[in-house]
Each structure stands twice: as structure tokens, then as C-alpha cells.
Symmetry: C2
Subunit: 450 residues, 2 copies
């Protein structure tokens, strides 16, 4: 079927509440999120010609139904549009979703409505990749700078970056693009693992996993900290003994500390030479992070944050204030690819390294594309940078991430790697999926319909 | 019926989607919110003994259903509790709502879930007032400092204020309390009006309203600006000619500008001597507001913001950075009374004036209590401060605000003045209320169920 306007009209937007019972094994547990059931609100956008795009936003179980409701509300802005008209002025369309005159009051651009925006926008990027038969990283890397900036809403950014400055950065970023694309296709992009370090794990499990990832070629490891100082000291010592001192160690407190508490606690952990402390305090506290950064700089410890940073305006301030030295964009929290592009551009301008957050459901699948685009067409380097990697729920995807020698291999399938398998949809749609029905019958979980 | 534990158990939490068709008359229109239908998610908490508490969060129409869904999800944390147990450790209960281990991911403490929290928390305060037969301002003003601080979650605030410092401020604030309570009961608390200045109004309507409020004793007037500079200049001149130069004029841009744009625009309006420019840019941009504040200080123009400030951590930074000189707390955006108390305490410590946002649906009814408590028991003064006043939807409430000589009179009814009338509930519950059915039948609005 040819791609006439009529064929490219969006005829439906469906959304599903997908939940995976990860709380049964303490996977993903940290000092703040003690029992997550990794979940997502999953969007299916369908064109008249039958082509579909898939997008999602990551959640932790309860509350997914609220994001689903928000996606239903936003869908009226999407359905009926010709999808290529959206791509022609994608930045303007993005603003129509995020600044709808009545809906913006319940955000704006944060929390539930912004997660919903991310799921829809991610589905549109998956669809775009499928239409032009390119993985999203390549779609982005092949774009003319003018087209790329037309995807971005620069509102509220101009005191740090303008459209014109972004264009300049992108034009410069293209130099050497072919060569880097070859490197990427051969070697992939480096990653670190968080897998050995969840708080709920025993020492034996940590040793087993650390050795597994060492053998797989990993050189950078992240541990959860912040529940108990003596435990943290023991665990860091334990892990340093396994991985040695030449490898990179990061620690992550998942927002549990006050500002001064973070500084004091990290002074005790400094001897284990962590590269960064991640989320030392509230994800909204730019000035607090800046204070912690100033105090820990003499100890050689950097600050990382971003997975719960709510939008580009907060990121702008974290970057402006030198409050973070590692910028951890998340592919499903801020409003999808379009807004994330603006964060990469600001980070590039201000010289801050981007090390994306991943894990969860589909976050690895998506964010690899963005970091690969950055490597090929913007920052031009992967030195001292990694994408997070967690071996979690990849089997639910038709095109899961592929890791070789601690590198994400460049995706080849068209789109954004966001399509869930038929089995995942049958088993884990909540609450009526087969696996959920079976767990309700066994009394492992309580059926919310009863 | 006596107040035994059994009688004080919360047996139900109902929530209703209430919408009022204000877009028909451009009431409440500004540069960013062009067609609001003033609405609220309305919570009814019922005890075993039959007593009910009413709470709400304000919305602009579309999206109210999302907040309603979030309230339904949060209700499981509330129903079944003995309400006096909640009041005994109210700060801890507040944290259990805002930091639920799975739900917090889709906030945290911002957007839809925080608005939902506000509605529930506000209902609990209304209920508390009814239980002890006091209006909330008096309930607060009569509390021992220790009890008041036990209502507050100080997480993430300790680099600006600790529990101990808050206690000190409250103890000092009690001096002269009786005298100020008498002043309050006699004169009420001063307010300004936004009523004459909505962007959608004609000059004739503005003149008529300005004169009406002048005759009613108002001395402070706020105008909307930011759509067109020449229009703003004309409107400010027009209004100054009516109200004269001895009265106070504030202007409000509702977030439409970039940082430098705000500075440049306000230089053109400086000659009309506005006391403050409100929401010059993104409500998330602490550093941007600080930049604007520094630039406008030599012109004698202050910065006001807060109605869309998402939580106490953002407020903390706005206050720390001298980014706002007028702190506009909102009674229904951050997580209800408990969190707002912490903002008043920080503002008091840092010497920033609190001038609450009001208008909307029920915002005047609620926020008057907080400012009156502050006057009686914390800051001890109303000098150079006002509560916003908009004559809008008060008729929907059983105990509406009473304004006399440009002052809010101190509420006498027990509770938080948040109970909607039976008629309001019958006519404006959405979409099945009588007035909505009638407007759908006439084709004035489209029935969302069709």
C-alpha cells in the first residue's frame, strides 16, 4: 500500500497496563523503592494502512492505571492526524500535547501527564523508524540539523541554548560521522551494570553476579547504598575485593538523604573511590545537588542524577549550576525523544557527560538509540561514558537489546525496539493476563477486581 | 454518638469530577490558559459515625478525570484508618501517601498524584475542624508548636529549616496571639482582586469592574499581561488612570516568557510601577526567576510565583535563591495543608512575604485559613501582604468566603469551608449533572460519552 495522506492517518491509539511481578525476587529494589513490580503503560498507534508504532513509559506497578487514564485523555490530540504532518513540525506537535490549555494545569510537563506524553511520543518515533525503515538512532543520525531542531520545543531554554546554537552544535557534530557509525556498527556502545548491586541481594548473590559480569567483560559496576552506613561500607569493600581497583565503581542512593547527610555519608565511602554518587537527595533539588557537588569535588566524587528529573527546565538548571557532572537522561520520564534531544544539546554545550539511566521495562531498548545518535552525530565520543544495563524483562520484547563484551550492539531493526511480544501481552496485561490470573488463583497477589 | 475509635474509622472515600462551564464567558482566561472550565476533583471522606469531611483540588476542565483516578488509587491508603490516629502522626501519614513505594515513581510529589494528595489531605483537615468544631485557621492557631510540627514532613528541607528551628519560630510567633486574633475577628485579612484584569475582557468591562472594586474598598489590583506588549501598555495606562497611582498594581504573565524576554518586556512596563511581576517564566525555573529578579530589582519590581510550584523542595529553592519576593502558595497544588505549613515556615525564616494564590474553585475558601493562621500565630503581620480574591464560584459552597471592605472575614464555621452545595453537586458533576446534560442537549458542549 502506498503512503498517501489517507493511508498515513492515525486511526487508533490503544493503551495497555502491563505489569511484571518483579517484587517476588527483590529485583530492582533500592532504599526508596522497596518492592517494585516493573511495569509500563504501553501504547499502540495504528495507521490507516495497518502499520503500527509501539511506545511505553516505565512504572513500578501501582499507579500504572493513572498513567493509562492520562494516555486515553491525550489520545484525542493524536487520533485523526496524518502522521507525516506530525513529523513535519514535530516540535509544534509536541507542544500541543504538553501545553494543551486545560490539561497543562495538572502538570505542567511533569508527573503523570508527562509520563503519558513520553509513551505516546515514543510510539510516534517507533512508527517513524518503521515508516522509513531505520532504527531510531540512525533516523536521528541521518537527519539534517534543521530537521532535527524542528523536533524540539525550545521554550524556556533560551537563556542556556537557542535554536541557532543547537544548529551550530549539530553541524559541527556531523564531522567524522561516517567513521563513528562504522565503529558503532562494529563494537557497539559501552555499558555498565547495576545488576550485582540491588539492596535486597545477599552477599552470595552479589558475588555470583559480579563474577558473571566480570567474565562477560564489564568494567563498570553500580551499587545501591543509603540504607545503613555500616552495611554500605561492608558491601563496597566486598565488591571492591571482587572487581579490583582498576575497574569503575558507582554508587546510587535513590534520593534517601538530606543535603548535609549526603555529604557526611559519602565522606565515609570516599575510600572506595566511587566515580559518582547518584541521586543523593530529592530529584527536584538543584541547589542541594550543587551544594553536595561542591563538597564532594575535593574527594574526587562526582554527582549523577536525572532518572527522575521531571523535564528539560529542571535539567537546564542542573547543568547550569554544575549540580551534576553525569547527566542521566531517562527515555520514558521526560516527554520522549523530542525533549531528550534538547537535554543532550544543553549537556554538549555545557560540557557535561550524558550517561543514560536504563533498566526497568524497555528503558535499555530505547535509550541505546539516543546515546548512539549522540556518539555518531553530536558529542562524537563515548570516552568515560556508559549506558546503564540491567538484564531485566528484555525477553518481553520482539527486538531486545543485544549486549556483547559489555557493549550495546547497534540495533538494526526499524523503529525504537519498543514492541512487546505477543506472549508478554497475553501473560502480563494487568489484571486479566494469564500469568496474573494464575498468580491471583494461587494467592500470590490479590486480584484488584475483587 | 461518642467518638470511640470504632466511630472514628474512615469507612469510605468518594470522589467526584466537578466542572463549571466558565469558558463560556472567558472568566479566568490568561496568556497561557485561554479557555478554562473551572473544575475540581472533590473528595468526601466519611467516618463510621456519619461525620464527613470535604476536600478538593482545583483543575481547569479536561484532565480532571485523571486526578479522580489518582484519588481512587490513593484512597486505599486512607480507608480503614482511624482518623484520630492519622492526626496523631499526621506528618508520617502524609509521607505514607506521598512516598508509597510503587506510586512515588509516577510523581514523586508533583503533578497529578500530588494534586490528588492535596484533595485528600484537605478533606482530612476539613474533617478535623469539624471534629473539634473549629475553623481550620483557629485549629492551627490553637495548636501547640509541637503538635503543629508533627504534621509536617521535613524531608529534604533540613539545609534550610529543621524541625527544631520551626519549633522556635512557632513559639516566638505565639507572642501577641490573642490581640491579633481579635483584630482578625473584627477586620478580617486584606485582599487584592484579579477580577478586573483577565485577558479576554474588553476595556468597558475592565472599567466597570475596576470601579466596582474601587467602590468596594479595594486598594490593590492585578492585571494579566504577556500576550502583546502594546496591548499591555495600553491596558496598564487605562487601569492606572482609573485606580490612580497611590493604589497597588500587580501584573501576571502566567509563564509565557523566556528569561531575557521577561526582563525586556518588564522594562517597558516599569513606568506603570507594578509591585510585582507574577510567573514571568516556567514555574520550574528557580535560576531563571533569580536572574529576572536581579535584573528587575533596580526598577523596583519584585517577583511573585508559586501557584504552579510543584512542592516544598521547589519552594525551598525559590526562597533560598531570592528568586521570589512574594511567595504565592496555593491551597490545592502542593500536598495540602501539611506541606504548605512548611513553606510558611521557610518563608518566615528567610523573610519572604507570603501572598497566597486564590480564585478558581474553592481556593479562596481554603487559603484564607492558612494566611489567617500565619497572621495570628507565625508571621504576626499582614503589612504589605494580601490574599488574592476572585469573585468566582463561591455560590457553589455551603460556607462561601465573605469579603467586607476588601478583607476576607474570618470563617466561623467548623472545618475548611470546602463543602459544595447539594445544588452544585446535582448540576455540575461531570458529565451527568443536570446543567451539563442541558448544555449537551443544546449543543453548547459535546457529551464526552458519545
Amino acid at each position: 500500500m502506498s503512503n498517501t495522506s489517507e493511508n498515513l492517518k492515525i486511526v487508533s491509539l490503544d493503551v495497555k497496563d502491563m505489569r511484571f511481578p518483579t517484587s517476588l525476587h527483590a529485583d530492582g529494589s533500592d532504599a526508596m523503592h522497596t518492592d517494585p513490580d516493573y511495569s509500563c503503560a504501553y501504547v499502540i498507534i495504528r495507521l490507516q494502512n495497518g502499520l503500527e508504532g509501539y511506545g511505553l513509559t516505565f512504572t513500578l506497578g501501582r499507579g500504572t492505571e493513572i498513567v493509562v487514564e492520562a494516555i486515553r485523555t491525550l489520545s484525542s490530540i493524536v487520533v485523526g492526524k496524518v502522521v507525516t504532518d506530525i513529523y513535519k513540525e514535530f516540535g509544534a506537535f509536541w507542544r500541543s500535547l504538553t501545553s494543551e490549555s486545560q490539561l497543562r494545569w495538572i502538570g505542567p510537563e511533569k508527573g503523570v501527564t508527562h509520563l503519558a506524553t513520553a509513551a505516546i511520543i515514543n510510539a510516534l518515533w517507533d512508527l517513524w523508524g518503521r515508516l522509513v525503515k531505520k532504527p531510531v538512532w540512525q533516523l536521528l543520525a541521518d537527519m539534517e540539523p534543521e530537521q532535527l531542531v524542528s523536533c524540539i520545543d525550545f521554550r524556556y531554554l533560551s537563556n542556556v541554548i537557542t535554536k541557532e546554537e543547537a544548529l551550530e552544535l549539530l553541524k559541527k557534530g556531523r564531522e567524522g560521522r561516517e567513521e563513528r557509525m562504522n565503529v558503532l556498527l562494529q563494537k557497539g556502545y559501552p555499558c555498565y551494570t547495576t545488576q550485582a548491586g540491588w539492596l535486597g541481594y545477599s552477599n552470595d548473590k552479589i558475588r555470583e553476579l559480579a563474577n558473571k559480569f566480570l567474565n562477560a567483560g564489564f568494567t563498570a559496576f553500580k551499587l545501591k547504598v543509603g540504607k545503613n552506613l555500616q552495611d554500605d561500607i561492608q558491601r563496597l569493600e566486598f565488591v571492591r575485593n571482587i572487581i579490583g581497583w582498576d575497574r569503575t565503581l558507582m554508587v546510587d542512593a535513590n534520593q534517601v538523604w538530606e543535603v548535609q547527610e549526603a555529604i557526611d555519608w559519602m565522606k565515609h565511602l570516599a575510600k572506595f573511590k566511587p566515580l559518582w554518587i547518584e541521586e543523593p537527595t530529592s530529584p527536584d533539588d538543584v541547589l542541594g545537588h550543587a551544594e553536595i557537588a561542591r563538597a564532594l569535588k575535593p574527594l574526587g566524587i562526582s554527582i549523577a542524577s536525572g532518572e527522575m528529573c521531571c523535564n528539560r527546565v529542571l535539567f537546564k538548571q542542573f547543568l547550569q549550576a554544575d549540580a551534576i557532572q553525569y547527566c542521566q537522561i531517562d527515555s520514558a520520564r521526560i516527554g520522549g525523544v523530542n525533549e531528550i534531544l534538547s537535554v543532550y544539546l544543553m549537556a554538549k554545550k555545557l560540557g557535561v557527560k550524558v550517561c543514560p539511566h536504563a533498566g526497568g521495562v524497555g528503558l535499555c531498548e530505547m535509550v541505546q538509540h539516543l546515546q548512539m545518535w549522540d556518539f555518531v552525530a553530536l558529542s562524537g565520543t563515548s570516552e568515560g561514558k556508559w549506558v546503564e544495563y540491567v538484564d531485566q524483562q528484555h525477553e518481553q520484547f520482539v527486538y531486545p537489546t543485544v549486549i556483547e563484551n559489555a557493549h550495546y550492539l547497534a540495533p538494526r531493526a526499524p523503529g525504537y525496539n519498543t514492541e512487546l511480544t505477543k506472549e508478554a501481552l497475553e501473560n502480563y496485561v494487568y489484571p486479566q493476563g494469564k500469568e496474573w490470573e494464575s498468580m491471583f488463583a494461587k494467592g500470590i497477589f490479590t486480584d484488584p477486581r475483587k
